[in-house]
Symmetry: C2
Subunit: 294 residues, 2 copies
């Protein structure tokens, strides 16, 4: 049975794109030596994350790159036959203007396999980025996968949408910081560290699929990133992890067989009862017909 | 500011209803002494759970009781001014026949405040019970709450439906057993024990509300129950818990203030992007119009 070796990176990537493009070959080669087929890098791999989530526009924004530009092409070339997910600040055009998205790109040597633009923009992020509009799985040489960025994984609807679209692996790309308002002496006791792990495990377990979660480390502007890269199996168990420092978490599995086994007796997708859920916000009150002109 | 004291029970309740009705006053009095306003008892408090989740009809089923029968009235009387959630096998009539539901009832001295019939029936449970059809929050003297039973909490749509319906506390009533297929020497390492805690914390955090989770303990038929009763705060942190043995987990909080504070900067209900989710199963293929008679 074919197995897939999944790697999740905890590392620091700053604003200097040349430095990142010089650092990436070493990380990718290390993953190759460990047999990695699917490598997930953090959000904002190319160009670094925001310095301040509340008022991002008060600081220089991360340098934006084009999907068909030289930076993405460079990672494609490094990837070769490996499938590599990484994060960028994407420059695009919409309505005749230049806009930016916080974007995850999945590549291998032959081209771009999938793109996801972050849907959920917390705090002041909408000053810096437009939101994406959907969650779509896509086919790769290592099977059907989906991607989430940062805050997306807080919302169970995100991973569920990908699972219902056939994803068997979810790549989570994060630049997830420690709590800004509620600092803890030890990173392991940090409230955001707890949530980061909690959502990784819950999304894998409730959807019965593999989740490969990468995160930034170190400090950028006012943010201290958590690391905690990991691979979670379809039972919600962490099968490989790093701590707060840089590292590579690697796990090998027969993804299709493991997902099928997890779903054999209790299938959390099949056993959903859609008719019982009320997942839309309550509609606004009906207009008063007596006040409507005929 | 008004506070609510929440209590979650880990205890064993078997098939003998008289014995349970003799045991409950002690548990409720103990909770009263600790100032509990909202007490959550396990699923199947009255009459015990199934002996076998795969083939429940091969064993005698739990005794069923009527919502307006003497057993529910007895708990109402014990409750007095306390709000008490507990589980029963409900006897009801549907389509002219006697049917059963796995039901959670919320009472206080003056009457029944809310009823939830388990929606998600795992494994062979549908041999024993009809499924419920929805998730609805309801108002109580301790605020607006909702209830989940057992497998319901595996599905994030369940708690989300309650949160969107205004619940600020979710009462989770369980008869959640240790893994049957994958026994562990120590209950704490059990796969189901991990999932039980994981879902409790994830549902509280992703919906930013209090979750009061009760569970059966001990052994019934072929099932060994996990206990692990707990109260989880809107950040997904366990603020009171029991272990696998019987006990009462108690926490006091200004629920409304804590929920509002948790949602102040990042509100997981407001920040949902409904248009981006694809939460319905893919539709069946359209019928071929050339084969449809005009």
């Amino acid at each position: 049975m074919p197995t897939t070796t999944m790697g999740a990176v905890a590392a620091h990537f700053g604003r200097d794109i040349d430095r990142t493009l010089a650092k990436l070959p070493g990380i990718i080669e290390q993953a190759r030596e460990r047999g990695v087929d699917l490598l997930v890098l953090p959000d904002a791999t190319i160009g670094g994350y925001l310095h301040d989530m509340y008022h991002p526009a008060d600081e220089p924004l991360p340098p934006a790159v084009d999907l068909d530009g030289p930076e993405v092409a460079a990672v494609r070339q490094m990837a070769g036959d490996m499938v590599v997910c990484f994060g960028i600040a994407e420059r695009a055009r919409a309505d005749g203007a230049e806009v930016r998205y916080n974007t995850a790109v999945c590549v291998h040597g032959d081209g771009v396999l999938g793109v996801h633009r972050k849907v959920h923009l917390p705090l002041g992020e909408s000053e810096a980025y437009r939101p994406g509009t959907g969650f779509d799985a896509f086919d790769t040489p290592v099977g059907r996968i989906g991607m989430l960025i940062d805050f997306d994984k807080t919302f169970p609807e995100s991973a569920r949408s990908l699972a219902l679209d056939g994803a068997q692996v979810i790549a989570c790309l994060s630049a997830w910081p420690a709590s800004v308002t509620d600092r803890s002496d030890r990173l392991r006791n940090d409230r955001q560290a707890h949530l980061f792990d909690l959502y990784d495990c819950a999304r894998a377990a409730e959807n019965q699929l593999y989740l490969v979660s990468a995160n930034q480390t170190g400090v950028l502007g006012g943010l201290r990133f958590l690391g905690q890269a990991k691979v979670v199996d379809p039972a919600g168990e962490i099968v490989a992890k790093t701590w707060a420092k840089g590292g590579l978490a690697v796990a090998t599995a027969d993804v299709e067989a493991d997902v099928a086994r997890a779903r054999r007796t209790m299938d959390h997708l099949r056993d959903r009862v859609e008719s019982a859920y009320t997942l839309t916000a309550r509609p606004a009150p009906e207009p008063d017909p007596s006040r409507t002109s005929p």
